[in-house]
Symmetry: C2
Subunit: 336 residues, 2 copies
């Protein structure tokens, strides 16, 4: 158990280190704190904090650097801070200025978040918990080459090219599309695959394509997330040696980032913080992640997340992630 004073000191050390990226000396704490004690006393407390594992020292006589445990303490101590009213207003304002378009919202959220957190932000597209057919369309392009347009519930549109064995007139295609649209309306993938009804060979072919497109959508591993602010992260002093980030870069490019960092369990619309070694994947042992779900749990959920070095401005990042997740959820509820 830490004394109140020890807690104050620890929080000061963490804040200052987050701010300055330099080991914190006892003297500075003595000056900045309103405790009115001498550096020597701070040093005694610091010795205890080190012994308890809250802080580390680069070497025998160096200043204090927070450990993962220290950051964890810090994060817990500011769990319930919410975003300042002025920032809330600013975010709402910006979101309502932009076009009514899911992709624009997500991309905007990523940009704002990266900007605020001065780190990399990732926002994934909401992934349907099991997508449902809404409508389809067939358009003849040339000879036997045809474009299938599939509209899913939630205003998601997918397209796919197919080739029929023989040319079909556009008028016949329209008839087929209308028939299937009516037949499959509101169904999910399995229901479409099993649906009993007389279908011509061409229609059967289309049914299979539709089924595959929907499966594709269901299985999609957070495809093409909206990502912004990598350069902010790179400006952090942690990255003066570039090798530190190469493996990370690769993850980002491979789009495997979210899959890798996504924790098993995630409370809805409440930011989860994963600090340093708490990450399962070794790649992120020097990184922290602030992540939250958003969306409508019965329909589709995505994630909002910030990735940066463990030395991250949690006090600002956590409420921002929380608030953006709330806004996106609200905006999405209009689409279902």
């Amino acid at each position: 158990m830490l004394s109140t004073r020890a807690e104050t000191i620890l929080n000061l050390i963490v804040s200052r280190y987050i701010d300055q990226a330099v080991p914190v000396p006892s003297q500075d704490i003595a000056q900045e704190s309103a405790l009115g004690v001498s550096p020597a006393t701070i040093r005694n407390e610091m010795a205890r904090l080190e012994h308890e594992g809250y802080i580390l020292r680069a070497h025998h006589s160096a200043g204090s650097v927070p450990s993962d445990k220290g950051y964890r303490f810090h994060v817990e101590s500011l769990k319930d801070i919410s975003l300042s009213e002025s920032e809330q207003r600013f975010f709402s304002h910006v979101f309502h200025q932009v076009e009514r378009d899911l992709e624009k919202w997500l991309s905007l959220a990523a940009t704002l978040l990266a900007q605020q957190a001065q780190n990399m932000a990732v926002v994934t597209t909401p992934r349907p918990t099991g997508c449902r057919f809404k409508h389809m369309e067939l358009l003849s392009l040339q000879d036997t080459l045809t474009l299938v347009v599939l509209v899913l519930h939630g205003a998601k549109v997918k397209e796919q090219l197919i080739t029929f064995d023989e040319a079909i007139l556009q008028s016949s295609l329209t008839v087929i599309a209308n028939k299937l649209s009516a037949a499959f309306s509101g169904l999910n993938r399995e229901q479409i695959a099993e649906k009993e009804s007389y279908l011509s060979p061409a229609e059967e072919q289309i049914r299979e394509i539709l089924s595959r497109m929907m499966q594709d959508e269901d299985e999609q591993e957070y495809e093409a997330p909206y990502l912004d602010g990598f350069h902010f992260m790179l400006s952090q002093p942690e990255f003066t040696r570039s090798d530190r980030m190469r493996s990370l870069m690769e993850l980002v490019e491979k789009r495997r980032l979210i899959k890798t960092i996504l924790p098993k369990e995630l409370e809805s619309q409440k930011a989860t913080v994963i600090i340093g070694m708490e990450n399962e994947d070794e790649t992120f042992h020097n990184y922290s992640i602030v992540i939250s779900k958003y969306g409508i749990s019965t329909e589709a959920v995505g994630t909002v997340c910030v990735l940066g070095p463990t030395r991250m401005p949690y006090g600002h990042t956590i409420p921002t992630v929380n608030y953006l997740s709330k806004i996106l959820s609200e905006l999405m509820s209009g689409l279902y």
Copy 2:
């Protein structure tokens, strides 16, 4: 004018430097070349090459490093090399294995190119020279909220949410969509904006949305290009100091990369090489770009491009860019 021997030596210096990233000593050239001359002779030639500006030296008594002019010479000397047959076969094979889908092709092209060039590759989506309406669809989502699906020539699908002043039944929406689809078929943006015909207020509203969507498409500055291999570039010794690449990273994120590097004129389907200081933008004074257009000049064109340090394996990169641009053009011709 360079003597044949000087040319041989210069090409050897460039190749070796591209390969090893280390200043090239006269002795190595003497050994590797089949000229049968001593290092001293090579040194004499090197002195001339330096005087003429083809090579640089880090300091008074250091080995040779190619200058931009040296690279330029090298590139000109291998202008007409084409890809080895086995690689051609490999590429064709891979492309015909993948689904018939433009986005998949482009993403595949970027990955292959990055892999081959061991540098960053960018492939932009083909940008219509002026997009043409093909078909539209209206789908009621909830109350007055409606999804507009617009299909353009070239199998490009765009969607957009709109809100009507009052709710309209899906059946009426279908009638409207069919009417407008017929009226606007094959037209470009201006023609749609000017088309004379009686339209209800709701239809007029849709016409405006369509016009805006098409304008959006026309003006789109190479949106969301397919990008791969950043991490390859970062592994180059040029980037052991990470600050070198931060501004670059920012450009990539802002999607402004292509806009910035795109040269004024670009021969169709023939790789253009821009070396170091030849780049107009100062950011790229240490980079080279190998870039080519692809597509159907009357319909839609995109670009294939590789970006890396001036020390780049041109001999491999140029034919690869050429070949991919050719393949993509061929594949695209099926869509128009």
